[in-house]
Amino acid sequence: MSSPADRLVYMANQIGTFFRSQGHDKAVPGIADHIKKFWDPRMKRAIFAHLDAGGTGLEPNVLEALTSLRQTTSLPAAH
């Protein structure tokens, strides 16, 4: 079984794939909005941590979307 981070990267890229055909300018905010709306805080924290560690495996649009999302998100502490 893949690691938790791998699974999140996979899910994020799947979202990226749907938006790909809408072109970069619509795709990036579309991806960011989708993750913002549907992911729980621990998932967001984990993917942001992965982003900080270099964001390996994330498609360019997804990487960009997550980077912008992190700037506008303030998550409650883990506990």
Partner: protein
């Protein structure tokens, strides 16, 4: 309370709007043109004697009991087959008519047993009633002559006599009581659409016969019960009535099985159900039913039902029966303990699509307000969550657009990834009726389903490879756009034109043509083109779809593609058209409406929206968490990771219904407190620490919302066998956790829902009492509800076209796993089968079978009925093979009703990109001959048996 007697008008209602006036027995009557004299008389309150007519089927005119006299006409016409005309003067009673009727009755009775006192239909027999009505006092002919009544006559074997057929588990056929009125035959044809019955022979020899003189069980009969309802005598009678006797009161309620939401009369004797009879006023079913709702309610008092709360320290321990109080405080202490140790977000819950709206609402309230997080999800996650996403982004609301009556105006029905004949049988019967009137049918499904094969129906079948829905629907759009079949006026007026243009340019690309995609989809381009033309130009086009659309990694994309198709052809916003998800379980729609999704409060409003959240905070008097919670698959991941440790599951069996069983087992085993609230020790309960017994739909009040958004009452007909209705259990658990909820009756819960949810603002129990049911939105603008949505404009404003690019799933076939497995269901079983397996329905489906094409079977040396090993990347199981060409080469199919099969050991955890709805419908597999159950099945079985032990009660002190 008394027995609800519905009026039988003798012949069906005429839909004509032209009115006709005539005189019957001196009274003027005005009725729609096309009405029979019999029905017009009944309208005026005059019941003409009848035997072969009943208003569920067309008149046949064979018994001649319903004769009348019409002034100026010779003879005595049958009133059931004679239509009204302006100015007719009709007499229903005269010396001549009396004599004729007596003569008819005399003949019937002379060939009918006179065991009325001990007959099962005593008190509910039309033959008996008619004998009384016509004043029959003596019968001149004896039984000496030819008859069907006695096994022997004059010491000889009577060849005309036939023994009872008891093969159907729910009703008997006693030919000696048959008057050959053919009502059953017509009901099977016209209402059910199965054509299982015929009248064989002629004159005295004519008999009702299932199939070619088969038994009922051995015939095509699907046990819907329509013939039993239609039968005026004891010939076709429910076994429960024979056993218990006639009911004395009845209560109108709603079937708890599927999303059709049939209305039934629960006919009772005290607190014992005698039978369930479909209710003619039910707006979803119009008096029809299927085998599940009509007959399969025996599970409610099955011996395996658990009636006492139970707890245990560890899942290895046997269960210990305890008091409710002890169970609640044990559960509460554990859940609060977990939150202390792992954080507030470490627990959550799952609402049920089988429970009522009120119960679902309470569970999500407990989680959001009591647990203090939004970790609430529902089993709709694993079936229709992509519908919610797809329809809300395109149309602006996450629900089907039509009511079921709409199908009566449909000219072209396109069914994608659904098999209504099995999963939504009453809707299928209504659709088939329309198809027999000439509407066209397109079926997009990997399998040749029962719909494709139904009698007197010709379907255009597009047998696509599993996983290629988006490619096929986009190719349909390609044909519609490139052949100029778009309804431009509609699109310009109702949709965003520039988004449309972008979409049209996208689908028009040659790579989306049927010819170019055929290599992926396996669908013949010519058939696909024809289907697109028929849908776009054949009149009212309606799309119905099911889990074959949603349960894919591109589930949401397909829903969007379907919405695009309907908008481009203008098939939205009037009767006969629309986009309609066929919901699986009875209250999937309701559980979604009630805020069961982690990101949405009731009424589909995002939890991050301050205005809406503050309304709930004010009403509930707590601060709510604005961040979305975990979805079911995310909960499992988090459990394995160690951050999600406690779960309250109401009325769902996630272990059996969710994909990749091994993953689910690992997740559940990792948790420190699993609370299962259910009727039975289901598979999930094998991993639970607390078991709270549930109540059946017969034991509580509430509402269900069916696939047409119709809110209908569930009414209590007996006291909860476990002592508490499910909503009361949730309240008590909340209280033990320190969160008070105060309701005295579910109607008060509905009032709170209405106060907080604009689309429900007009809903109350009083309104449901008055109207029978309402379809949301029900508010100031639509006080009686909304049968058809998006009539003058889309809920979101302009309809939104979104491009849908086909992306192959990552679950691929290859040399090791060359076949594609897809899953589905069958008529007699329901979902994970927890209920139906505990009824006589098992006679139709004792085990899950693997359907495989003869070609693939031969290649692997598999014969019909052989055990085979079914292997995927996720796991393996064994089951028996059924060789059939219903599936294409390369595709295999199975159902998932039985826990021993464990079909979900095979399914993977790939899921829909938008909603994480699991990809049940595509799994790459290999098949090989086998001798019996796999090691996993054996060890699973062992664990299950071990886990279900209940410690003997300790002696009271």
């Amino acid at each position: 309370m008394s027995l609800i007697e519905e009026i039988d008008y003798g012949t069906p209602r005429s839909k004509s709007e032209t009115m006709v006036t005539l005189t019957i027995d001196g009274n003027e009557v005005t009725v729609p043109e096309g009405t029979s004299i019999m029905r017009a008389a009944m309208d005026a309150g005059h019941q003409i004697p009848k035997l072969c007519a009943t208003d569920m089927v067309d008149a046949f005119g064979s018994c001649r009991l319903c004769v009348v006299e019409i002034e100026g006409r010779a003879g005595t016409p049958a009133s059931c087959t004679t239509p009204v005309m302006n100015g007719l003067v009709v007499h229903t009673q005269s010396e001549r008519l009396k004599k004729l009727r007596k003569g008819v009755m005399e003949l019937y009775i002379s060939d009918h047993p006179l065991d009325c006192l001990t007959c099962g239909a005593n008190g509910d027999c039309e033959l008996q009633d008619m004998a009384g009505a016509v004043g029959l006092r003596d019968v001149r002919y004896g039984y000496e002559g030819e008859n069907h009544v006695f096994a022997k006559s004059h010491g000889e074997i009577n060849a005309a006599w036939m023994p009872k057929d008891e093969s159907n588990p729910y009703f008997t056929y006693d030919p000696s009581k048959c008057i050959v009125c053919s009502r059953c035959v017509r009901a099977c044809e016209e209402v059910q659409g199965t054509f299982a019955l015929t009248i064989s022979g002629r004159g005295f020899d004519s008999r009702v016969s299932p199939g070619m003189s088969e038994s009922f069980l051995g015939s095509e009969c699907v046990s819907c019960g329509a013939c039993v309802q239609a039968c005026p005598t004891a010939t076709l009678t429910e076994k429960s009535v024979i056993e218990i006797g006639q009911p004395e009161h009845s209560v109108v309620t709603t079937c708890a099985y599927c999303g059709v939401g049939c209305t039934f009369k629960a006919e009772m004797r005290g607190e014992e159900v005698v039978r369930m009879v479909p209710y003619k006023d039910g707006k979803a079913n119009r008096g029809h039913s299927c085998v599940k709702g009509r007959f399969a309610w025996g599970y409610t008092n099955h011996k395996e039902r658990i009636l006492n709360p139970m707890i245990r320290e560890r899942i290895e321990d046997p269960w210990r029966e305890v008091s409710w109080d002890e169970a609640f405080s044990f559960a509460a202490a554990r859940m609060r303990g977990i939150q202390k140790k792992y954080g507030r977000d470490a627990i959550g819950g799952i609402t049920s699509s089988r429970c009522t709206n009120e119960e679902t609402y309470l569970v999500q309230k407990l989680i959001r307000a009591g647990f203090g997080n939004n970790n609430v999800d529902t089993c709709a996650r694993v079936c229709h969550s992509p519908t919610g996403y797809g329809l809300s982004v395109t149309f602006g609301t996450s629900a089907g657009t039509q009511d079921f009556d709409s199908v009566e105006n449909t000219d072209v029905a396109m069914i994608i990834g659904a098999n209504p004949a099995s999963a939504h049988p009453v809707f299928a019967s209504r659709l088939k009726k329309r198809l027999r009137q000439g509407a066209k049918l397109i079926v997009v499904d990997p399998r040749r389903t029962e719909m494709v094969e139904s009698p007197h129906v010709k379907a255009l079948h597009l047998p696509l490879l599993p996983g290629t829905n988006v490619a096929v629907v986009t190719a349909l759009a390609h044909v519609i756009v490139t052949e100029g079949l778009v309804n431009e006026a509609f699109v310009r007026e109702r949709c965003d034109w520039s988004e449309f243009e972008e979409w049209a340019a996208f689908v028009a690309q040659p790579k989306h043509s049927p010819e170019a995609t055929a290599i992926l989809t396996g669908v013949d381009p010519q058939t696909l083109r024809e289907a697109a033309r028929v849908y776009a130009t054949g009149g009212n086009g309606a799309i119905y779809y099911g889990l074959g659309v949603t349960e894919h990694s591109q589930g949401s994309t397909t829903v969007i593609a379907i919405a695009n198709l309907a908008m481009a052809t203008g098939n939205i916003g009037r009767p006969g058209v629309g986009v309609n998800p066929l919901r699986g379980q009875n209250n999937v729609q309701g559980s979604c409406d009630m805020g069961s999704f982690p990101h949405e409060l009731p009424g589909y409003r995002h939890i991050a929206g301050d205005a809406v959240r503050e309304q709930f905070e004010a009403m509930w008097d707590v601060k709510l968490n604005p961040e979305p919670g975990l979805r079911i698959p995310n909960m499992f991941d988090a459990a394995i990771e160690g951050t999600f440790m406690g779960l309250y599951v109401q009325g769902e069996d996630i272990l059996q219904s969710d994909p990749n069983t091994k993953h689910v087992v690992a997740a559940l085993s990792a948790m420190e407190c699993v609370i299962v609230h259910d009727l039975f020790l289901n598979e999930t309960a094998n991993y639970a620490h607390v078991f709270l017994p549930g109540s059946s739909f017969l034991e509580k009040d509430g509402t269900f919302t069916n696939a047409e958004r119709r809110i209908q009452r569930v009414r209590k007909v007996m006291s909860p066998k476990n002592g508490m209705a499910d909503w009361e259990v949730t309240i008590a658990l909340a209280k033990a956790m320190g969160f008070e909820m105060n309701y005295r009756h579910p109607s008060e819960i509905m009032d709170e829902i209405a106060a907080l949810t604009p689309t429900f603002a007009g809903v109350s129990y009083a309104k449901l009492e008055e109207l029978g049911s309402v379809q949301w939105p029900c508010n100031e603008k639509a006080p009686e509800g909304t049968p058809v949505m998006h009539i003058d404009g889309f809920v979101r404003g302009k309809g939104k076209f979104i491009v849908t690019e086909y992306v192959a799933t990552d679950e691929r076939t290859g040399p090791r796993f060359p076949l594609l497995l897809t899953t589905g269901r069958i008529l007699s079983q329901y979902n994970v089968g927890a209920q139906t397996r505990r009824t006589e329905n098992v006679v139709w489906h004792a085990e899950d079978r693997l359907e495989i094409h003869p070609h693939d079977a031969e290649l692997r040396g598999v014969r019909d009925g052989d055990w085979v090993r079914l292997q995927s990347r996720a796991g393996e199981t064994t089951l028996r093979a059924e060789i059939t060409d219903r599936v294409s080469p390369g595709v295999v199919y199975t159902t998932f009703h039985h826990p021993d099969t464990q079909a979900n050991v095979i399914t993977t955890d790939y899921s829909d990109w938008a909603t994480n709805c699991p990809e049940y419908k595509v799994t790459a597999v290999q098949i090989s001959p086998s001798n019996g159950p796999s090691d996993w099945q054996k060890s699973y079985d062992e664990q299950a048996r071990h886990s279900r032990r209940i410690a003997p009660a300790e002696a009271a002190e």
